[in-house]
């Protein structure tokens, strides 16, 4: 139910109301409005620090997801019994990294943030892209979410991995093409 929004950085100005509205819309599309979720905006230094701690990758990235439920089957909503179990987890957005990528590619920052948030939410719901099959499944979901989002808001957002459509490559190769993807998996299981 609660979308906890935190802005822990001062590098990129964040329009909080817009970000909240967009993420709430994404949650509605996915039918997970009743689940709590955290969105934390951080700079390169912090996301690099987190990336290094949890993934041993000492570099900044665009998004890191920390699912509340570790072994969710993609597409199946968590079976929460108690109120405090209605929680999807947290998404760390590397907003400085995203802004830099947007500037290089002349992309709209706010729209890109929504796309990346959609990617992160998919991870919270159990989607992965370790294999080609997983990637295809996740891409399909992202495509659906953003298609619905566009329909509701009049936006023109596309999934992160769009350029890989039809390729027989796995997501790791895709990251080189899409630019916004860094070179490593975004899903972290907190210890």
């Amino acid at each position: 139910m609660v979308l906890l929004l935190r802005n822990l950085q001062n590098v990129v100005p964040i329009r909080r109301a817009r970000l909240r509205k967009d993420v709430e819309t994404l949650k509605r599309i996915l039918g997970v409005q009743r689940f709590d979720m955290g969105i934390v905006c951080v700079d390169d230094r912090k996301i690099q620090h987190i990336n290094n701690i949890y993934r041993k990758r000492n570099m900044p990235t665009d998004v890191l997801s920390f699912p509340f439920y570790e072994d969710l089957k993609p597409g199946r909503l968590p079976c929460a019994l108690h109120r405090d179990e209605y929680n999807l987890g947290d998404i760390f957005l590397g907003v400085e990294y995203v802004m830099q990528q947007c500037q290089e590619r002349s992309c709209d920052f706010q729209g890109t943030l929504t796309v990346i948030a959609a990617h992160g939410i998919c991870h919270l719901l159990g989607y992965r892209h370790e294999t080609e099959e997983e990637w295809a499944e996740m891409f399909q979901k992202e495509h659906y979410i953003l298609h619905e989002f566009n329909r509701l808001t009049g936006s023109h957002l596309e999934p992160l991995t769009k350029r890989c459509t039809g390729d027989r490559r796995y997501w790791k190769d895709c990251s080189e093409d899409t630019g916004l993807e860094s070179k490593e998996s975004k899903t972290i299981i907190p210890t």
């Binding site: 822990l8 987890g89 210890t191």
Partner: protein, 287 residues
């Protein structure tokens, strides 16, 4: 979830004031040298030059001894006592002032970016900015602006003054937005949250600053008019809260501003501390 997670992923030491014994010994040297370990070559660190007053509660007897050792009669025309204790106190203060000035980064206060004008009245600072028919005023007071120590005993053998966090002044601040046509000002009571430190690697979980209360108040009034409705953000709709934060960001009060305010407040607080020590020194000396 976020709470536990964010705690776990960052080493945020803003409020973790550890207290290495070596520095304590140095600061307390004139009065409690024998009671603590020998002074080291530790460089000056503000946290403990002050916390000695809290930490050496056991030194009361010693001070009593110093005062009681000689009942000195007034030695000048000021009419006040001049005891051996006073003499030691003045020596201590002189050393303290010297050390504090040594670590003072700059004599001038840091400037706020964004065209804010600074006006000082003792420990109170007022930042003002005019933008297209609106006036934004931010007021804060450096008194009681340093969060209480959440001290942890240093590990044995650890004398690392390098690990000491600096004293940071993070005052509550009040933002007043005045529009020409409006009857009252919109006033925001803001603060810097003091995060709990988690186990292991701590993480700050809160925004850099948060709005605590919002109210309409008569322009320029110092006292908060209690009869005006006050919106408490504890139970506020999150979307409304975000709009309020965006409103402030549009007027130059964002995370960058908050960080700069902490720098300014820290420098001002230090300046006022040194001035207080000098006044105290002068008072004891009675000059």
């Amino acid at each position: 979830m976020l709470k536990s997670l964010t705690r776990a992923v960052n080493i945020a030491a803003r409020f973790t004031n550890k207290a290495p014994g070596a520095t304590v010994a140095r600061c307390a040297e004139p009065l409690v040298r024998s009671a603590l370990c020998a002074p080291t070559s530790a460089t000056t660190a503000r946290p403990f030059t002050r916390s000695i007053w809290m930490m050496c509660s056991g030194g009361a007897d010693r001070r009593a001894t110093l005062l009681a050792s000689k009942h000195t009669l007034p030695s000048c025309g000021c009419g006040g006592l001049h005891t051996e204790g006073d003499k030691a106190f003045v020596e201590f203060l002189s050393d303290e002032i010297k050390e504090e000035k040594k670590i003072q980064k700059t004599k001038t206060l840091p400037k706020m970016s964004g065209g804010w004008e600074l006006e000082l009245n003792g420990t109170e600072a007022k930042l003002t900015r005019d933008l297209s028919g609106e006036k934004v005023t931010v007021t804060f007071n450096v008194n009681n602006s340093i969060p209480p120590n959440m001290e942890e005993e240093p590990e044995q053998g650890q004398k690392s003054e390098d690990n000491e966090p600096d004293i940071v002044s993070s005052p509550n601040f009040v933002i007043e937005v005045t529009k020409k046509g409006a009857k009252n000002s919109l006033v925001f009571d803001c603060h810097f949250p003091e995060d709990e430190i988690g186990h292991g690697e701590g993480e700050e979980e809160s925004d850099i600053f948060t709005i605590r209360e919002v109210s309409f108040q008569p322009e320029g009034e110092e006292d908060w008019k209690e009869t005006s409705y006050t919106l408490n953000t504890d139970s506020l709709d999150w979307a409304l809260y975000d709009h309020l934060m965006d409103f402030l960001a549009d007027r130059g009060v964002d995370n960058t501003f908050a960080d700069e305010l902490i720098e300014l407040s820290t420098a001002l607080e230090h300046q006022e501390y040194i001035k207080f020590l000098e006044d105290l020194n002068g008072f004891i000396k009675c000059q």
